[in-house]
Each structure stands twice: as C-alpha cells, then as structure tokens.
C-alpha cells in the first residue's frame, strides 16, 4: 500500500524558517517580532562550553531582551527536567522560549512550553493532539543536523517513573521560527555528527516508505537521502567544512519536513524503546536498527526502497528486488562504517533478556502505525535479535 499510487488526504505543516550561514544571529529579531520581552534561553552544558550559548545570550540582551538561562538538560530529556524548566520559566515571568541545541534541548523546550500553556505534568500530554492550548512563542536554533525537532510536530520526553520514552505529537509543537545555521554545527564532534547524520537519514528513509507518505514529503525525503549520502562523510571527517555542514543542515531540514508530516516507522519505534528503557543514544540505535528494519519492510514497499537505494547511490536499474535489497543494506552498512558507527546493540549493553520488553514497548510506539509493514511483536523481537 505504501508502495501504491493511491492517495488519501495529506497535510503539510512547516514552521517559518531561515536557512543559511548566520541565520542564528536573527534570533533576537524573531523573538522580538513574536512579542518576547523576557525569553528563556533553553540550552545545555555542551553549548555553554562551546560558547554558542553565551553568544546568543549577549545578542538577546543587546537587543533589550532580559534573558533567563536554563541548561539543566541531559540527552534523552527527562520529565523532571521539563518540570524544573517550566517552574523557572513561570517564576521568572518569562514570555517566550529560545531553544539552542540538539534534539534533547529542543524537545525539552517544547515540553516546557506545553506545561506552561496547559498546566499539569508533562506526562499528561503523551499521545496525539492532547495539547489544548498554544505554547508560548518559540524560536529554535538547532546545533545538530539530525533530530529535526526544530521543524517537527514531535517531542520525545523520558518518563523516568515508568522508564519509557513518551511521544508528544501535535501540530502545536511545531516551532514558530527555526533558524538553521551551519555555523553552530561546526563544533559538533565527529561521533555526534555521525549519529545525528544517520538519524536524519533514518528520518528520510522512514518518511519515504511510511504508509502516510505524500508527493510533497517524498521530494524532501529523497533529497535528504541524497544530501546525507553526498555530504555526511565530509562533515564527519572535516568539522569546519562549511559546505558539508550546510548541506547536512539542509538534509536534516528536508528529512524533518518529510517525517513531521509523513511520520516514521519501526526503526524509530524500536529506537524509542531502547532510549527509554536503557537510555541509549538515539542516533546510534537508529544506525543499528536501520538495516534489519529495511530487510523486514522491503517486501511491503519494494519500489520505494528501490528509490531509496538509488538515492543512496546504488545502481539498481533493472535489478531484481532481492539484489536491490542487498545493495541497499550494503550501502547502509558502508555508510555506517565510513562514519564509524559500527557497534551493535550487544556492544551497547543490550542483552537477549531485554528483548521481549523492548519489543513490547516498541509495539505501542505510534511510529509503528505508519511502518509500511505491520509487524507482530515476534517480528520486532527478531529484528532486535538481528541487531544484537
């Protein structure tokens, strides 16, 4: 069906965004235009250390904005971090959010906005369309090229009580403005560049083969795959390669526009399960699971996977499906090797005993719903097994 041509209703939502070198310098202007007087700058320790946070803070202050800093955020942002941030936001009388960081920071900022607008606890808003009031104005400056939280309708927060990642899905979560600037991404480590780049690739592939795909998202998805294939290795090997950084920004943007509207698939469903229960890095989990999921899904969308393979540089013209699959899996494996993401789940500490629980959680992840092939829990267990 995902492979078919018939088309139901499709919606496309994207934030206002500015792309290009120096886009992040426009943060103050956009915050002011959105009515901010006392924004909260949400970021993390890494960006404070790299100096990007201070630079942005000074720009906001020099524009006359009283800036409140919140940076107590870890990877896979936790519910209590969101609640602490919201309390600070409320107590300080903040009126807008300026988020500077990777997916964790942006998702946490979204969480702060949700709790501030709707009250209660962040875990109340798990699910789709549960947010009833608009969030405060939000300006996003992504410093990684991969999470695409700066354009997506998703926020993934860890429920530390139940030890699961919960997904908040709502068009309300689409930021007001995203400033996509390659410059801040230059301070990413090679490993982070690789992880986020593969994340972007996974977004693009999953959106493309999603049963909610559309012609509009297809364009962004395929272009994103091509850009990752072309530029990720450069970006990993040469951090200051502005052209590569810039193109990876674009790849992330394209992938984000695609998956925010066409949604994802089993890779993300299963990666969320790993991140929630074992706090494993999201990008690396995606890199590990991508191949086994492609192998599982391929029969349901062979024509689409053929185009994926093509976008990733495989010469698949006229080849039979099974060869296309082999080439595609090979391309993925090669990319992982080139960016040094070779570990498997076993090396990350996952044991066979974890698998039934991981599969059970993944079965309940909304991303599974748009996977081109409907899996049974046993299928997911087999995939985890293959990725060990």
């Amino acid at each position: 069906m995902a492979d078919g041509q018939e088309l139901g209703l499709r919606k496309f939502v994207a934030p206002e965004f500015v792309f290009g070198e120096g886009a992040s310098r426009l943060a103050a202007r956009h915050a002011i235009n959105l009515g901010a007087r006392r924004p909260m700058l949400v970021t993390d320790a890494g960006l404070i250390n790299s100096g990007w946070s201070r630079m942005l803070e000074e720009e906001l202050r020099s524009a006359g904005l009283e800036c409140v800093l919140f940076s107590d955020i870890t990877a896979n942002p936790k519910d209590h971090e969101v609640m602490a941030g919201e309390e600070l936001y409320r107590c300080e009388g903040c009126d807008a959010l300026v988020a500077l960081g990777g997916g964790s920071v942006l998702d946490c900022a979204k969480g702060i906005g949700v709790v501030n607008a709707c009250g209660g606890h962040i875990t109340q808003y798990e699910g789709v369309d549960t947010i009833h009031s608009p969030l405060p104005p939000m300006v996003c400056i992504p410093t990684t090229s991969g999470s695409s939280a700066d354009v997506s309708q998703f926020a993934i927060i860890t429920d530390t009580t139940r030890k699961v990642k919960i997904a908040l899905v709502s068009k309300m979560l689409v930021p007001d403005v995203s400033l996509l600037d390659p410059i801040p991404t230059t301070t990413m480590s090679a490993a982070l560049t690789a992880e986020t780049g593969v994340d972007a690739l996974t977004h693009a592939i999953e959106a493309y083969v999603s049963n909610a795909n559309s012609p509009v998202t297809d364009m962004f998805a395929l272009e994103s795959m091509r850009l990752v294939h072309r530029w990720l290795v450069h970006a990993v090997r040469d951090p200051m390669h502005i052209k590569a950084r810039s193109q990876m920004c674009l790849a992330s943007l394209d992938a984000g526009l695609a998956f925010s509207n066409a949604i994802l698939g089993a890779v993300h469903g299963m990666a969320h399960s790993l991140g929630g229960s074992l706090d494993l890095p999201h990008g690396e989990c995606n890199a590990i699971l991508l191949g086994p999921v492609i192998a599982f899904n391929f029969p349901s969308a062979p024509r689409r996977y053929r185009k994926v393979a093509k976008a990733l540089g495989c010469a698949v013209e006229g080849l039979p499906d099974d060869e296309v699959l082999d080439m595609l899996l090979g391309a993925v494996k090669m990319l992982r090797a080139e960016v040094n993401l070779n570990r498997n789940l076993g090396e990350l500490g996952v044991t066979r005993a974890d698998i039934p629980r991981l599969a059970g959680l993944a079965m309940q992840d909304p991303c599974i719903l748009t996977n081109p092939r409907k899996p049974a829990q046993a299928d997911l267990e087999a995939i985890y097994e293959a990725a060990l």
């Binding site: 209703l9 009833h132 309300m172 049963n211 059970g360 309940q364 909304p366 719903l369 748009t370």
Partner: protein, 560 residues
C-alpha cells in the same frame, strides 16, 4: 496508542487507523498553533471588562503611582467631570483636586493612609463647573515593572448630605434628650448603661465615654452609677421582661442637697434590642410642697376652728367682764345710785365694804376680771392669727424682740407647769450688725416666747440637770435668723417631722395644747413668708430656728 491505558496491544483496526490519521495531522483537533482563539476570548473579555468599567458607578483612574499621571480613565469619570479622553490623557490626577489636597493624595499613593479603614474625601471637578466630594480608594500594583495605582472615586454628595442630615437629626434628638430636666438612663439586659442624657451624666459624674459602646465591652453597670436608687434595676429588668411601662413614685434617694425624692418612669425600648429606659424626675420640691400644703391645709382648718371658737367665746366673755365690771362698780360708795339704793335698803355701804374687804371679795372679783381680760387677750390673739393681718408690721431689731420675749418668759413663772426660767442658764449670741427686720413685733415676740417655753418645758419634763438655752440671732442665707437651742433630751425623727403640726404634743393631757409650735409656724411661714427649721437628735438637744426675709417692707404679705 496511549501506553498509560491498559489497552490490548492489538487495538481495533479502526482505532489504529484513526490514530494514524491523527499522526498525519488529520485529526479534528490537529492544527498549527494559533493564538487567535485565545486572543479573541481575551479581547471579548477585555471588551466586557471595559464595558463593565465604563459603566461602573464609580470613577476609575489608572495612574502612575509615582508621578500621578493618568494612564487610563473610565467613561463614568469622563462623563462626571465633563472631559474627553484626549483631555485627560497625560494629565496628572492631583491637578484635578482642590488646592491643598495634593499632599493627601500623595500620602494615599504611598500607602500612608489605609483607605479600607478610613475614607478620604477629595473634591473633583464637576461637568459644568463646580466640584463634587469624592471618596477615594487606591490600590497600588506593579505592572510591567511600573508602579501603577488604581484610583476609585465615588461621588459621596448624597451620602455626605444624608450623613449630615442624620447627624443633624441625631443631634436634634440628642439635644432634646439632653435638654430634658429629667435624668434619662437606658440599660441593656445585663444592666449595662447604654444611654444617658447630659443631665444624668452631670448628676452622676459619669462621662459620656463610659456609656456602653457598640461592642458592648466597657459599659458601666447601672448599680455603679446610680447606687442610691436600689429599686431601679429590678424594675428595669421586669420591664424588659414583660414590656410594660411602670412608674415608681417618691423613691427616696440622694440629691445635691442631701435627701431627695424621685419619681421614676420605666419604659421598654422597642428597637429589637432588649433595653429599657428609666426617666428619673427629682420631685423633692413637689414632695415638700405637698407636705407644706397638707400642713397648711390642716392648719387652716384648725385656724378656722379656732377663730370660730374664739368668736363664740368672746361674747360670753364680754358678758362676764361686763358683769364683773358692773359688780365692782355697784359696790363702790362713790356712785350716787349705789348710795341711794343702800339708803332704801337701810344698808351701810361702809359696813358692807368692810365685810367685803374682810372676805376679800373685791380682790376675787378683780381676779375674775383679770382672768377674763387675759382670756379675752388670748381670744383676740387667736383672732388676729386667723385674720393673718400684717397691719402692725414695723421695722424692729430681732435682738430687741428676743429681749422682750425673755422678759415675758421669766415672768411666766408657772408652778403648775413645773418649769422655771430662773433655773435655766440663758446664753445670748447676737450678730452685731444685724439690721432691723420688717415684722409684726408682738407676733415675733410670741414666736420666740413659744420657742423658749417649748425648750424649757422639754428640759423640765426630761429633768435635764443643767438646763441651758442659747438664743442666737444672725444671718442665714440672706435672711434674718433666730435660733433657740436647748441641751434637753432632743427628739427622734418621728417627733421632729411633726413638731409644727397643730395639737401635736408629747406632753400629757392637760399639760400642753399642742399649739405652741404651730403658732410659730403660722406666724413665721404664713405671716412673714419666712421659714422654720428643726435640728435635733435624741440626747443631743434641739434647735429650732426661724428665718425672716429682709425685704419684707416691699409689699404686704401675699396672704394678707
């Protein structure tokens, strides 16, 4: 897909389909974030609020707390002051006030005066000229890092007017209550004083501040304020209980001049509270008047009786005197008719007279004559009293009258009555500069004589060992005063109260007529508009005083 629910892993296909639609943004509630719905709700709220403010009956200003600059104002204020929003924009609130009120406003904004506790009235300009009194309350609040003050002004013209009216009415009623010569005192059911008029406050020496306040905490107790009317509390409580008005008559109590009598009327207050009010009237003068009237009444009837008797006695007495006179004349040898009659009868007048003299008949007849004359004088005296004539009033020295009276007293040696002035030590104390008094000298002589005799008789009857009488003359309260004091047995109150009553006597039958002191009373009070007084206690002697007005010459006695 909610993990929280315990939904089975395999949800119904329709549910999964609709969840997928929602993920794709096709759910009913899926929309890009928009502030418009809330904005519109807020705008409507604002509009309602604005309407509310503009239609409020109070004038509302929003001003900068430190400068007093008006930043917002409601329609009521504009209408009331006859100004437009443009005129008001940027003006300062204190420029609208009457001169001299700026400081008070500044104090209000600094929070120095608590407008919740005390209202502050300012004068604001009125549309079409003039000013109106406005009670102002302020609340200062921080907004947008500025200190703003919401100033609410309420036109209190009508209220002030009604307050004045109320105060005037209250003052009017209060002054009526205070002007009453009665004592008014109100109490509640615990007998705490809730009301007291000025007269009562002055009388009891209690300040108005001691009257129970609204809180009812510091009311004085009735028994502390009016201890000398012990019957009052019980009567008040009864009235509160049964709601009936009651009157207590002639309660003895304390007055400015000692003992006094009061009439008390008690009525319930029907104000929803359990209270009763007592009206206390000093009726001492009326009581005394009544007593005097009773006395006078009694005396008048006795006087009339005596006058009638005297008149009736006078005729036979005249016959007796005439008869005695004729008998004496007809014994006389000097008359030709006597001699002729004796010759016809062959009687020697000289022999007869020798016989008569020998048997002392002429002296007996003269004794009859003297007694008759004396009786006649008494009768004429009684008649004189009853005529209450002041015909023979003259200007005389009181001390001279005392001299004559003493002379008479000493001569009235009376064995039968067992008293003798020669055994009584008489002391005279005369004020040296006493002017003469306008009076009937013989009557006042009689008065003093009666007083002396009364004292001497009392001492003799009691067997006082060294009887002594002190007679004083002098001044007393602007009147001439004479007092006769003895060191005799004195008298109890029961006697003292009745000494001036006619025919009241402590002596045995035949020893006294009971008229002596009532004659004193008549002469002094009725004939001379003076006063009589008794000072006595058992074993301490007695002093009876008379006072005579000095200005008696100005006219005849009203009763003359």
């Amino acid at each position: 897909m909610k993990r929280r629910s315990d939904a089975p892993q395999e949800s119904a296909p329709e549910d999964l389909e609709s969840l997928r639609d929602k993920l794709m943004g096709l759910g009913e509630r899926s929309m890009r974030k928009s502030y418009y719905p809330e904005l519109r709700a807020r705008m409507e709220e604002l509009e309602r609020f604005r309407t509310l403010l503009d239609n409020a009956s109070d004038l509302i200003f929003v001003i900068e707390a430190d400068s007093g600059r008006i930043t917002d104002i409601n329609e009521t204020a504009l209408r009331k002051m006859g100004a437009t929003r443009e005129q008001m924009d940027g003006t300062f609130l204190h420029t609208l006030l009457s001169p001299g009120q700026e400081q008070a406003l500044a104090g209000l904004l600094r929070g120095e005066a608590d407008t919740l506790q005390s209202s502050v009235v300012f004068n604001l300009p009125l549309a079409g000229g003039g000013r109106f009194p406005a009670e102002i309350t302020t609340s200062v609040l921080g907004l947008d890092h500025r200190s703003l003050a919401v100033v609410m002004a309420r036109d209190v013209t009508a209220r002030l007017e009604s307050q004045r009216e109320l105060a005037r009415a209250w003052g009017y009623l209060r002054s009526i209550v205070d002007a009453m010569p009665s004592l008014l005192v109100g109490v509640n059911e615990t007998l705490q004083i809730t009301l007291m008029n000025a007269h009562c406050a002055a009388m009891t020496g209690v300040g108005a501040g001691d009257v129970q306040d609204v809180g009812g905490t510091k009311g004085k107790l009735l028994s502390d304020v009016l201890p000398w009317l012990p019957e009052l509390p019980g009567a008040l409580l009864e009235t509160m209980k049964d709601g009936n008005t009651r009157t207590l008559r002639r309660l003895p109590g304390k007055g400015p001049d000692g003992t006094a009598w009061y009439d008390v009327t008690i009525f319930p207050l029907n104000q929803g509270r359990h209270e009763a009010v007592a009206r206390i009237d000093d009726v001492s003068s009326r009581v005394r008047m009544e007593e005097v009237l009773m006395q006078t009444e009694k005396m008048l009837s006795v006087g009339a009786l005596a006058a009638g008797m005297a008149h009736e006695i006078n005729n036979p007495l005249a016959g007796i005197l005439q008869g005695v006179q004729s008998v004496l004349r007809r014994f006389s040898p000097d008359l030709a008719a006597n001699r002729a009659a004796a010759q016809r009868a062959g009687l020697d007048l000289d022999v007869m007279n020798a016989y008569l003299d020998d048997r002392e008949i002429p002296s007996m007849l003269r004794s009859v004559q003297e007694s008759g004359i004396r009786a006649s004088r008494i009768v004429s005296n009684i008649l004189e009293f009853s005529r209450r004539s002041d015909m023979s009033k003259a200007q005389v020295q009181l001390s001279q009258l005392v001299d004559k009276a003493l002379e008479l007293a000493v001569n009235e040696f009376d064995l039968k009555k067992k008293y003798d002035f020669r055994h009584v030590r008489i002391t005279r104390v005369d004020a040296p500069d006493l002017p003469s008094v306008w009076c009937v000298p013989t009557q006042i002589e009689q008065v003093i004589l009666n007083l002396l005799k009364n004292a001497a008789q009392a001492m003799a009857a009691a067997g006082t060992v060294e009887p002594a009488i002190t007679v004083r003359t002098g001044w007393c309260d602007g009147m001439a005063c004479a007092e006769v004091e003895d060191n005799g047995p004195g008298m109890p109150e029961s006697v003292r109260e009745r000494v001036f009553e006619p025919f009241f006597t402590t002596k045995g039958v035949g020893e006294g007529t009971g008229l002596g002191l009532s004659v004193v009373y008549y002469i002094v009070v009725e004939q001379h508009e003076g006063r009589v007084g008794v000072r006595s206690a058992p074993g301490e002697g007695a002093a009876i005083s008379i006072r005579l007005p000095m200005n008696g010459q100005e006219g005849p006695s009203r009763r003359g």
